[in-house]
Amino acid sequence: MDGVGESSESGSGESSSHLIKNEAFRDEESCPKQVSPIRGGGSRNTSPLGRVGSRNTSPSRQKVIKTKPRGLDEETVATFGKAVHPDVQMEDNIWAMLPEDLLNEILARVPPFMIFRLRSVCKRWNSILQDNSFLKFHSQVPSHGPCLLTFWKNSQTPQCSIFSLPLKTWYRVPFNFLPQWAFWLVGSSGGLVCFSGLDGLTFKTLVCNPLTQTWRTLPSMNYNQQRQLIMVVDRTDKSFKVIATSDIYGDKSLPTEVYDSKIDTWTVHQIMPAVNLCSSKMAYCDSRLYLETLSPLGLMMYRLDSGYWEHIPAKFPRSLLDGYLVTGTQKRLFLVGRIGLYSTLQSMRIWELDHAKIMWVEISRMPPKYFRALLRLSAERFECFGQDNLICFTSWNQGKGLLYDVDKKVWSWIAGCALQSYNSQVCFYEPRFDASVH
């Protein structure tokens, strides 16, 4: 039912699945009012009082049953957990009879990285899995599950590894097509990945789709400065935007520029209202860009439709260190950061912005054992990013990442070779065949 599987203290994925199994058994005993297969016709009694009568888990309820009104039928206990009825075929070659359309439905749900392996099964599958109409059908499935993309440069050679969360496997992806100047991973959205870098003295940006190995350098900005960037894809519109906000070094006041792929140009918008220091912490949520300012500590919002910045008067938690802004699903915005100046009293907490009341509401706290494992020293740096109600923490000094599922309230570790490189940049990535760089 509820509660048990959602405990954040339970932590590991294995133990929580055991808890789920136990919960299912308890479900059966305490609430036998489920569907039962009808034998030999007859109608099912779904009266509310019938439900009361069949629940008898505790001795105190025995009295109620004794005074149960007469004239009600007993309900048959569910057969949900019992063995399969012998009428169901149990042949060995059952999957050989899979109909064609069902095979297509199944293949459409296969995450992209597994599709490549399945091409080796037989010639028919090889042709199906490369067929354009199949790939279109595959892309229409809303989501195959998120991946983590890690990028680092190994003496000028770009290296990229992608961890697929649904498949729980690392894949090495060739990035030889990337020009030499591409150095910083800006981020990923809707299947596209954005890079930036300095080509001589010019600050350039590039978008690519690692799955189809296509890429394109974007035109230069109006103001040639290293900027904080964020990319967002609009899948319904089949377009993407790149927003350039503050100067990286924070000493120049530049107008915000927005690149729109539909018109293939950068347009200049408002200069951000005077703040002394802007952080690099940004999150795009519901066609609004939120940016955290450091001095003073606050929240600025940029509306894409109007092109103006405004200040959001949400009070930040006191003694907050390293606040990160993370987007969730359906207009949810999270703030993740450490509280507490002294190492023994520090804790990592997650707040959610209440848009109506304009305040940060604490929704979760990292359990101490995870916090200690992630950051051995209080001064250690970490990165935090997320999408779709998943928040990932990576420690700069250790090669592991911690994943938090906001909906299920479950913490789990991710380890892998790619995260161990000290200068690797990580972001969430959603592999898509249909993400176009144009």
Binding site: G5, G11, P69, Q89, W95, R109, V141, L165, T169, K408
Partner: protein, 194 residues
């Protein structure tokens, strides 16, 4: 509904309260029984009849269309067995209020659904074919995810054996397709549980 009240219950309660209580119970049961009235009758291949609430039954587009044709009569499903149909209706009852919730599409199944799909391959096969023939998209989606979990981690040869597919590549062609751009770096489960 007729009740016989045990004397131990109403001893000590005044008559006015008792009347109000009985009236509200009658109203409640009338409402409950009127909600029960929109029921679809469905007959499976082995001649078992199921009475299912219309909202639950019409999660299947096939049943929805057939209900329109049959207009109140018994809907025959000639290729669905009662055991599997019972499971499918079980699932539909849990998800009738989900509406356009895209939770399914996030990849991981909800807790209650994870146990639903912990079945052997024969049952999974029948759940998938039934969800496909009855056109219940969310159930089909979840069942396919389960199938993908099943083949994840299997080698290409194991997948061929499972689905009884003959390998029609020549050795050279097979080497070529395997020497692709993509390869697994680490094929093991990378979740370390601490």
């Amino acid at each position: 509904m007729a009740f016989t009240w045990s004397k131990t219950i109403y001893m000590g309660l005044d008559p006015i309260f008792l009347t109000e209580l009985s009236i509200s119970i009658i109203i409640f049961s009338t409402i409950a029984s009127s909600k029960k009235s929109r029921v679809s009758k469905i007959k499976t291949a082995d001649n078992e009849i199921f009475e299912v609430e219309e909202a639950v039954a019409t999660m299947s587009n096939t049943i929805k269309i057939m209900a329109g044709d049959c207009s109140g009569g018994v809907i025959p499903l000639n290729n669905v067995h009662s055991t599997i149909f019972a499971r499918v209706i079980e699932w539909c009852k849990k998800h009738v209020d989900d509406g356009e919730d895209l939770e399914y599409y996030k990849g991981a199944l909800k807790n209650c659904d994870a146990t639903f799909f912990e079945v052997d391959q024969a049952v999974l096969y029948h759940l998938l074919t039934t969800a496909n023939s009855l056109d219940i998209k969310p159930l089909l989606h979840q069942g396919c995810q389960r199938f993908v979990d099943m083949i994840n981690g299997k080698t290409v040869e194991e997948i061929r054996q499972l689905l009884h597919i003959k390998n029609d590549f020549t050795n050279e062609e097979e080497d070529e397709t395997r020497k692709k751009l993509w390869s697994s770096v680490v094929g093991m489960n990378s979740f370390i549980l601490l």
